[in-house]
């Protein structure tokens, strides 16, 4: 075998691997989307692998009859509140981690990393008891507060690495020119950190959007989308809904996440690289 054939074979092998990966990830998504819009007749026709008749009927039923539209609204509200609260608390903390050296810093940082490893399930059950007393049970604020506890350690670590990436000299220069520390943070560091913070916000959004255990336990009538879908699909003995409703539900749940990946794909890899240091 000469070098040229070897090179060619290697290239073919490379593209075969890439093709397999892309197919393996995308095929289930494409099929779920297609089947989510398939008519029942096409779905139950065993010879029709790729459906040709489409309907939005099942998506509409899930959205409007079974309450997924409310679930979407609830999920969005919870996720936005989670972003709001966790950034309000996390940005100052992340900034302190990035810019100051102080006794106990390593211990605090280590504890925050440790808390990130905490299984959220342990949190959910006692929170029910607490929430009943505080009248937060079955409220969106309650879920958002719980999601914040889950997201906050992540937000602190990621904002700290984003701020550390913004040159300290710029900020110090602003101090020299008479801005206050807060002023220089607001005018210099914050704008420069904004793209990174936006990516972190979107990641927080997706974390909250996808969380199902706490949302299911803390709510009954005001369910977020995953909690609602879980109760529709797996409620009452597992799988009462016809198949095509399940695919329609899959489509509704996945779409926003896909949009998210599209916008943040540049940041995703580096973001994890930095946080996991």
């Amino acid at each position: 075998m000469n070098d040229e054939t070897r090179y060619l074979l290697k290239r073919i092998a490379t593209y075969a691997v890439v093709f397999t990966i892309v197919l393996w990830i995308l095929l289930p998504l494409v099929i779920a989307f297609l089947y989510g819009f398939t008519t029942a007749e096409d779905y139950y026709n065993p010879t029709k692998i790729i459906p040709t008749n489409f309907t939005t009927k099942y998506i509409e039923t899930i959205l409007f009859t079974l309450g997924a539209w409310n679930g979407i609204k609830n999920s969005i509200i919870v996720a936005l509140m989670t972003i709001g609260i966790s950034f309000l608390l996390g940005i100052p903390a992340g900034y302190a981690m990035a810019r100051f050296i102080f006794p106990g810093k390593d211990t605090i940082k280590l504890s925050i990393v440790g808390i990130r490893m905490f299984p959220v399930i342990v949190m959910a059950i006692p929170l029910v008891v607490l929430y009943i007393n505080l009248r937060l049970i079955d409220t969106l604020l309650g879920v958002a507060l719980a999601h914040t506890a889950m997201a906050l350690p992540f937000v602190i670590l990621i904002t700290s690495s984003i701020f550390a990436g913004v040159s300290k000299e710029l900020e110090e220069a602003a101090l020299v020119f008479g801005l206050t520390r807060f002023g220089s943070f607001r005018k210099i560091t914050l704008p420069l950190a904004l793209p990174g913070l936006a990516a972190a916000a979107m990641f927080t959004f997706v974390m909250s959007w996808n969380e199902v255990f706490m949302a299911s336990i803390l709510t009954l009538n005001n369910r977020t989308l995953p909690a609602l879908i879980l109760s529709i699909v797996a409620g009452a003995g597992g799988g009462a809904a016809p198949d095509y409703y399940k695919f329609a539900a899959a489509f509704i749940m996945t779409l926003p996440a896909m949009v998210f990946v599209f916008f943040t794909r540049k940041y995703l890899v580096t973001m994890w690289g930095i946080t996991l240091k």
Binding site: A93, V122, G238
Partner: protein, 284 residues
């Protein structure tokens, strides 16, 4: 660096208080719910929990899922990351595809795989049209628990390998090229470099990835409920049932604490046995 004694603490305080309130308090409360009765220490709830018909099955299944899923994901992610760390055309597309599942929840992944493998789903239609089977293969239902287990493993590998991949890939990119080039100069082949340089330096990333994945594997919940209902009991789902259906926060807390205890022990083992060897003296 500037030192103003109180400012950093002041900035950190709200976040720390919040975490103490929302994680510290529930943790204490969970122990209280689990191990007291009428204000006195008691193991009665614990006894009630472990004598539950589904308890041991749930424990066994949870550990089994972790033991099957996590090693496969790690091996697959390391292979994929090594592959994607080279430069070639189409690399970005491959990485993009691989990170898509990062944002897909377990509930959605369960629903998506259901569409692939349900009796009238894509896989069965293909098999029938190719003449491989006459009747659809059933993957779901109480009598096919082994197949349900397989489908859940498949769906979890599809969905959650991406997080391991991203962590490993980020780790690979942090390895300084100089080490590898130096080894090359001294005539080390690909396998030697991989074994003696790349993999040892990848240990911290492998450790993080293993801890994160194991932790989430121990909490496996939505995907099991969607694809298997209660056919395959797992700890988190049983805890959920105890809380929501049986209104028994004590027993539910025991389930949660057992998940936490297993996670803690496994994370401890990873830290102990995967001690990172720092070749580089950096700011870690």
């Amino acid at each position: 660096m500037e030192r103003r004694d109180f400012l950093p603490y002041l900035l950190l305080l709200p976040a720390i208080l919040y975490l103490l309130g929302f994680i510290g308090y529930p943790l204490i409360q969970a122990f209280y719910l689990a191990f007291t009765k009428d204000g006195a220490l008691s193991l009665e709830t614990f006894r009630r929990a472990i004598s539950d018909y589904y308890f041991w099955d749930a424990l066994k299944n949870t550990l089994l899922f972790g033991a099957v899923i996590v090693p496969i994901q790690l091996a697959l992610a390391v292979l994929l990351a090594l592959f994607m760390n080279r430069t070639f055309k189409g690399r970005d597309l491959g990485i993009y595809a691989l990170i898509i599942p990062l944002t897909i929840s377990d509930v959605a992944a369960g629903l998506i795989w259901f569409s692939m493998l349900s009796p009238y789903g894509f896989v069965n239609k293909i098999l029938i049209n190719l003449g491989i089977t006459d009747a659809p293969i059933y993957f779901f239902g109480y009598q096919f628990r082994a197949r349900e287990f397989f489908v859940i493993v498949l769906a979890e590998i599809w969905r959650a390998t991406s997080i391991v991949f991203v962590i490993i890939l980020a780790g690979l990119q942090m390895i300084s090229k100089e080490y590898i080039e130096a080894a090359e100069v001294f005539g080390a082949g690909y396998w030697t470099r991989l074994r003696h340089i790349v993999l040892p330096m990848l240990k911290p990333s492998i450790q993080s990835a293993l801890i994160i994945r194991t932790l989430f594997a121990m909490q496996i919940f939505g995907i099991v409920l969607i694809l298997a209902g209660r056919d395959i009991p797992v700890l988190a789902a049983e805890g959920f049932r105890q809380m929501v259906d049986l209104k028994d926060p004590g027993v539910a807390s025991i389930y949660a604490l057992i998940i936490a205890a297993i996670s803690l022990v496994l994370a401890g083992l990873y830290v102990k046995f995967l001690k990172a060897e720092y070749l580089e003296v950096g700011e870690r």
